[in-house]
């Protein structure tokens, strides 16, 4: 802590700055969000990584680390940087390998009392119908041409093929489709990796969870009512991304950028994982088009998973999913780069905002937010560990002014996977959680042990930091009762 204190200057109860003089080449200062308690568990690599980000060409205002930040590759997870469109770069390392990894939250009109007797059956069926873990394959049988079509048009393809409801599109960031995605810019290898994976959860920290809204956990009754949340309600939350496809897109372009970055564009970087190209260069635009394909694939992945969830609930409760109220709250991406307009030094300016393990958090009034939420702000879904809980927040006006409309995305790990496997036994964890009313179905007990609650930061503290910093507003907290893990 002493060492960190000598580097970071506390500028408010939840913000810490590192001046641009800290490291040669920094173009802007860095700002880390977090409470005193979170700073005590801050992964020290975050400081080096976020100050490396501050050296990238075209970066505006600050390089930001959100309260759940932990070390990543190039950028830390929880890193946010906005680059000038004309002078700045685009970096796959600022978006993450799992392009458009994100969260989807779905309502039901069922209560905990309705679901409790059928919980095991529900989780077991969801585990069967939503493949998870190493080598998981989805049910869609498509050819290369169809895959290319899917990644160019996104979730709309699902609606046209009866894998969703029209209203799902409005409640998905970008309406489930990034425009100008170009499949000519993705490799055959990336298609091979992704073609069987639509409708699959993956592994690691990806999950599908059944959760409950306890009455005492509704913090903003008005916003909760607008969204459709009520006490003792059961909701479904899931977390996954663009699977092997997105990873291959990122790897392909990371390598391409390494070859051109220094020789062709004379850009010096401090970490190979920050490989980048000028946004307006051919290479930069090619990656942007390919990345949009991965963003769309991920929206489709989550849409197909929602389709399966609706099927399972309909089958088990012997009712139409519509009558069970299985409507989406929202789908948010937390690994993206997007062109957005922000006020910088008093002027509105278009920038390419990189968010890696950070959630877009537009405040009230923005056109990008669905009409239903425009008066309250964009829903922000924060996934916690499988043992603790998760949150629904809203974006704020302050997040526009301070963080390029960004906030946290989850808990953030504080313990290595190896250590978690040493400290926790999967079978015991399974039984302990069952005794606490949480039924988990996991591909493996070792994978389960890696995801133990103690391996993560305190989700309540992460959310406290975002609320105290006014970059988010709290709506409700969810507690898990059922979980499918890869």
């Amino acid at each position: 802590m002493t060492e960190i204190n000598s580097i970071l200057k506390k500028t408010s109860s939840t913000t810490w700055e590192i001046p641009a003089t800290y490291k040669k080449g920094m173009r802007v200062p860095a700002k880390i969000y977090g409470t005193d308690k979170l700073l005590k568990v801050l992964d020290h690599h975050v400081i080096e990584q976020i100050t490396n980000v501050a050296t990238l060409p075209g970066i505006q205002n600050y390089a930001y680390a959100m309260p759940d930040a932990h070390s990543g590759y190039g950028f830390p997870i929880g890193g946010v940087a906005a680059m000038d469109i004309d002078e700045g770069v685009i970096s796959p390392g600022g978006i993450g390998f799992d392009i458009n990894c994100g969260m989807r939250l779905v309502l039901t009109n069922l209560t905990h009392t309705d679901v409790k007797p059928k919980l095991k059956e529900l989780v077991d069926q969801l585990y069967k119908r939503v493949p998870a873990g190493v080598g998981g394959s989805g049910f869609l049988k498509i050819n290369n041409t169809q895959f290319k079509e899917i990644v160019e048009i996104g979730s709309k393809w699902c609606i046209e093929n009866d894998y969703g409801w029209e209203e799902d599109l409005e409640k998905t960031e970008e309406e489930g489709s990034m425009k100008n995605a170009n499949a000519a810019k993705i490799s055959d290898v990336s298609i091979k990796r992704g073609i069987r994976q639509i409708g699959t959860l993956g592994s690691g920290n990806h999950y599908l969870e059944i959760q409950v809204v306890k009455p005492e956990n509704i913090f903003d009754k008005k916003a909760a009512k607008t969204i459709g949340i009520f006490p003792n309600q059961v909701v479904i939350m899931f977390h996954c991304g663009s699977r092997g496809f997105g990873h291959q897109v990122a790897s392909d372009y990371l390598k391409k950028f390494l070859y051109v970055m220094q020789e062709k564009y004379k850009i010096e970087i401090l970490d190979r994982e920050l490989a980048c190209a000028p946004f307006n260069s051919q290479e930069g635009q090619d990656y942007f088009s390919a990345m949009k394909c991965a963003i769309n694939m991920s929206f489709v992945n989550r849409q197909i998973i929602l389709h399966r969830i609706r099927e399972v609930f309909g089958q088990i409760f012997k009712n139409d999913p519509e009558k069970l109220g299985l409507s989406m709250v929202y789908d948010v991406a937390h690994n993206t780069a997007k062109i957005e307009e922000h006020n910088i030094n008093g002027k509105n300016k278009k920038v390419i905002v990189h968010r890696k393990g950070a959630t877009r958090a537009f405040g009230p009034g923005r056109d990008e937010i669905p009409q239903k939420y425009r008066s309250i702000g964009q829903p922000v879904i924060i996934g916690g560990s499988m043992e603790t809980g998760s949150y629904l927040l809203l974006g704020t006006e302050t997040s526009h002014q301070e963080t390029f409309a960004s906030t946290a995305h989850g808990s953030g790990r504080i313990m290595s996977r190896t250590k978690a496997r040493r400290l926790f036994r999967g079978e015991k964890l399974f039984r302990d959680m069952l005794n606490r009313g949480i039924y988990v179905k996991s591909v493996s007990y070792s994978g389960l042990a890696e995801e133990a609650g103690e391996a993560y930061k305190d989700i309540d503290e992460v959310v406290n930091a975002t609320v105290e910093a006014k970059i988010s507003k709290r709506v409700t907290r969810f507690v898990p009762i059922g979980n499918v893990k890869g």
Partner: protein
């Protein structure tokens, strides 16, 4: 075990250090470390499928990177896991060449003790170096 997990390097993913007496051994043990991250019991993978490997790269680091990436691609594209490797590394005037045969089988949920899915090999702190008469590799797998 010729490889170990470096908890001080990565907490969210798997940072691996491999040491070996020869380059071929280094590549084989790196591949086993990759597979072992996904499957607890390597011996449960039988060798009833064979793939040929032919990779060219400008440096030893990129040769290992491309090799490990190839295994990840085969895992996703053909649901294959490998645990036996016959490899040969040669050098031409301007590049390094990895040739070989790799053996394994299709992923079987009932038989293999599956763990975390490896989604990518990263360049973060990726290093291949010769120390005295031994070879050492460090790399991080994205989980």
């Amino acid at each position: 075990m010729p490889y170990s997990y470096r908890e001080d390097i990565s907490i969210a993913d798997a940072a691996i250090e491999v040491t070996a007496n020869s380059l071929e051994e280094l590549f084989i043990d790196s591949a086993k470390a990759l597979t072992n991250t996904m499957v607890d019991n390597l011996d449960s993978i039988k060798c009833n499928k064979k793939s040929k490997i032919h990779i060219l790269a400008p440096s030893m680091e990129f040769l290992l990177f491309e090799f490990l990436e190839k295994l990840i691609i085969l895992k996703d594209a053909e649901t294959l896991l490998f645990n036996k490797f016959q490899l040969e590394i040669t050098e031409t005037s301007n590049e390094l060449v990895l040739d070989g045969k790799i053996y394994g089988e299709k992923i079987n949920y009932n038989k293999h003790e599956l763990s975390s899915d490896v989604k990518a090999i990263t360049l973060h702190m990726f290093k291949v170096e010769k120390i005295n008469n031994n070879w050492k590799a460090n790399f991080i797998l994205d989980i």
